[in-house]
Homo-oligomer: 344 residues x 2
């Protein structure tokens, strides 16, 4: 079957990872329908589509069916599945701020867990049984060993956000055990950064960024005065936290590879893949790389550790390479290009 | 405040544990409103209340407000909270068959996890912040050590039913961390058996019983020919599974004690108590005790282990004794009285 006759529903397709994935899916000739509640996307009142979707349409010269819909809305989901015959669903729609999840746990569980359950029930009712889940390295909790390998223990997550990701993975496992017809791929993202090379789409968080890269970007353009580094007494080479930063376009390509894999392999049950580079960088190393690339100093201040942060996390990414034929192509220096989107 | 002015919503109050708890709450003079979707209760078409609620009204000479409602129905829950000002909620409503949970995981997660989330959201919106949760010893997963103590590790549950109980406990912990006003008690039940001493209410499972006691009862009255014992090669004294059987009236009294505790202690956060006897009996010991009490032989056959069963489980019940002033009063012999309800 040609990609163009493989119809994919992308939930949360107007968000940061979702929009980059939609772009790559279209370029790989998949047919895409996007739903999004627009909680984290900009839409001009004069348009029915959010800005990033319009830009993707221009970049690809293709039309995208866009429907404003929240995944917790069961009836609207049913209507969408009545209208479209999907082959697979890529599910990004979720709340994603660790700190906020500690303050509003009920909202996180409702949107991330119950929203996913709604979607899975509708899929089952309409006999759509290919699913790609937007999981996270946080499901490993506090790593016992590094790098993180897919068959390591999960759970013991340090915050509600991570727990929602862990719980959904458990639900997906149970679902695949109960019915052999499902093909579910859970992609465990490490730390996505950067923006598409066109500069047309990117990450534009509202409020104070939770993640390092947009934070650096905002300091670099003077939107914020100083970068706070949360702890320099971790058990890492320079004491600051170590993460595996993966470029958003590489991450998006992981989903294209997952789609191709699902097209080939029917009823394969539950599979998990890390999407990371396999290399960890400390906060100070990231700052130094940015300073080198931009020729600009980033003022920073060491403050106390943030609750729920772990010292180090990076992937063993060999399974995705072996099974999906995927690997990260961009390094830390590539990640500082086209960051202006984050600061517009 | 006198108990009679403490108004308690009991969800699943027409079920096995729920109905026995409603009876004890009324006898302790609490005001009770029951909601139940009647998925596991008998109702005569001529009545608006299920049979067990009518019987409890007769036994106690008190009226019970009963509303047929499913906890996944958010709007109906809101209407109920608009009409009644509750002080606390005891939440029994859940699906509870381990085997079925493996076949229908989505239904179990939806009812048990999302149903509870619905209820908690409505409680928060109506500023009701005392909650008693119907948890289970299954949250301990495969025990590392016996007896089971409340501060032991939870998770790694062997089936979706157990996972739903574990997930809700995690949600409740996060909720109490996010807002100090909550008072949540999670009661981890061991294996509830028996019936009220009046013989008027009891356990009456539909279909093949999942649990040992109703199974023995059905064999004893000839409703089933033979008792299947799932495995005799467990690491226990006689090779059959060991469980902590707690009499239903003792269990119900644990909830009354929890209500009294909540009346006294405001905003106490999240507390967990085991409700068990502290003593484990093997399947063969239970059969022997029944045969001794009834003078009747129970034919049995050893068959293969059942997926998800653990070898042994019994409680350290000292915390509930110390904090709630509760302990089990009935032993294994008491548990075989009044079992006819299970076989009617």
């Amino acid at each position: 079957m040609a990609n163009r006759s493989w119809k994919v529903l992308v939930t949360g397709g107007a968000g940061y990872i979702g929009s980059h994935t939609v772009l790559e899916l279209l370029q790989a000739d998949f047919e895409v329908v996007v739903i999004d509640n627009l909680s984290n996307a900009y839409k001009d009142d004069n348009n029915i589509k959010p800005e990033c979707i319009l830009r993707i349409e221009k970049l690809t010269n293709k039309k995208i069916v866009f429907i404003q819909c929240d995944v917790t809305n069961l009836n609207q989901l049913r209507d969408i599945f009545k209208k479209h015959k999907f082959h697979s669903v890529i599910h990004f729609a979720a709340l994603k701020a660790v700190g906020e999840s500690c303050e509003k746990p009920l909202e996180y569980y409702k949107t991330n867990v119950c929203g996913t359950l709604n979607l899975l029930k509708v899929m089952r009712d309409f006999n759509v049984k290919c699913f790609v889940y937007s999981s996270s390295a946080t499901v490993y909790g506090i790593p016992e060993k590094l790098p993180l390998v897919e068959n390591m223990k999960t759970g013991n997550c340090t915050n509600p956000y991570g727990k929602t990701k862990y719980m959904v993975e458990e639900i997906l496992k149970d679902l695949c055990t109960s019915n052999q017809e499902w093909s579910v791929i859970s992609l465990r993202y490490f730390n996505p950064v950067g923006a598409h090379s066109s500069g047309q789409i990117g990450e534009d968080p509202n409020g104070v960024p939770n993640n390092l890269m947009p934070y650096i970007a905002q300091v670099s353009v003077g939107k914020r005065e100083i970068l706070y580094i949360y702890g320099n007494d971790y058990d890492t080479p320079d004491g600051t936290g170590v993460r595996d930063y993966i470029h958003i376009t590489d991450l998006a390509m992981g989903h294209v590879k997952a789609m191709i894999y699902q097209k080939i392999h029917n009823s394969m049950g539950f599979k998990v893949f890390n999407l990371g580079t396999g290399k960890g960088y400390s906060v100070l190393e990231v700052i130094r790389a940015f300073e080198k690339a931009s020729g600009q100093k980033i003022p920073y201040k060491i403050v106390e550790r943030r609750a729920g942060d772990i010292s180090a996390s990076y992937a063993d990414a060999s399974l995705a390479n072996k099974e999906l034929g995927w690997q990260a192509t961009k390094n830390i220096d590539d990640m500082f290009r086209y960051m202006e989107m984050a600061t517009k």
